[in-house]
Symmetry: C2
Amino acid sequence: METLDALEALSALSQESRLQIYSLLVEAGPNGMQAGQIATALDLPPNTLTFHFDRLRHAALVTVRREGRSMIYAARFDTMNDLLGYLSKNCCGGDAQKCAPKSKSQKKTARGKEAAAIR
Amino acid sequence: METLDALEALSALSQESRLQIYSLLVEAGPNGMQAGQIATALDLPPNTLTFHFDRLRHAALVTVRREGRSMIYAARFDTMNDLLGYLSKNCCGGDAQKCAPKSKSQKKTARGKEAAAIR
DNA sequence: TCTATAGTTCAATAATCGTTGAACTATGGA
DNA sequence: TCCATAGTTCAACGATTATTGAACTATAGA
């Protein structure tokens, strides 16, 4: 995944309503969910919802298909997987240890340092 | 990690300059980097840089300490690790398979479906 | 003490983003 | 064909965000 794609995905997910929408769609699984169901669940007006869906769609985080009168949105798990890969690669360097949770003894040392640092 | 913390981290990383800053800091490792070095590397004025550092700091993605006249910023790997955990848990559901890359045969089927769907 | 270096703070501005209301399109059923 | 349901489009508005210039604070060295 390229930096610009990651940036679009991060932007799409960095908004409360959209993160909620996306979470619902992930729970719903590959079959997706009707737009109206999401509107009800999150109490969002239909035009606002369309706006957010568009952003998620442009970030390749969801797909849509029509089914009768309903639009069915579904999460694109492949993109989330790519994003996780990007963040792990570009934000943890080659060294996976850097991102790994610290062991207890290491944690203690780290805490001491952190306490001294300005946050 | 709570949803609101994840949202703050995602917002902090969803901006080009900040993602670049964070990447540099990750490369630099636990010892961090002088603010001035980052300013030079990314060609950003000092006040703009301070603004972005503040957002990264509030999202708990970096720490600062003073060293003589320089401010040394460093990535907080623990937070990135928490964010990856959050995204995996809340965005991949209990079923890690959902986020896992598809096998070749599955990919083919999936492509057919995707082609029919409106993006 | 004086000066240079390294960043921060603050107010102003421009750009982007999210929400809303009103009008519109698409589909299904009577 | 007419009506109801399900969403989309578009323009307008307010809120948030990023950038900039100018003034300021903190530290080091002469």
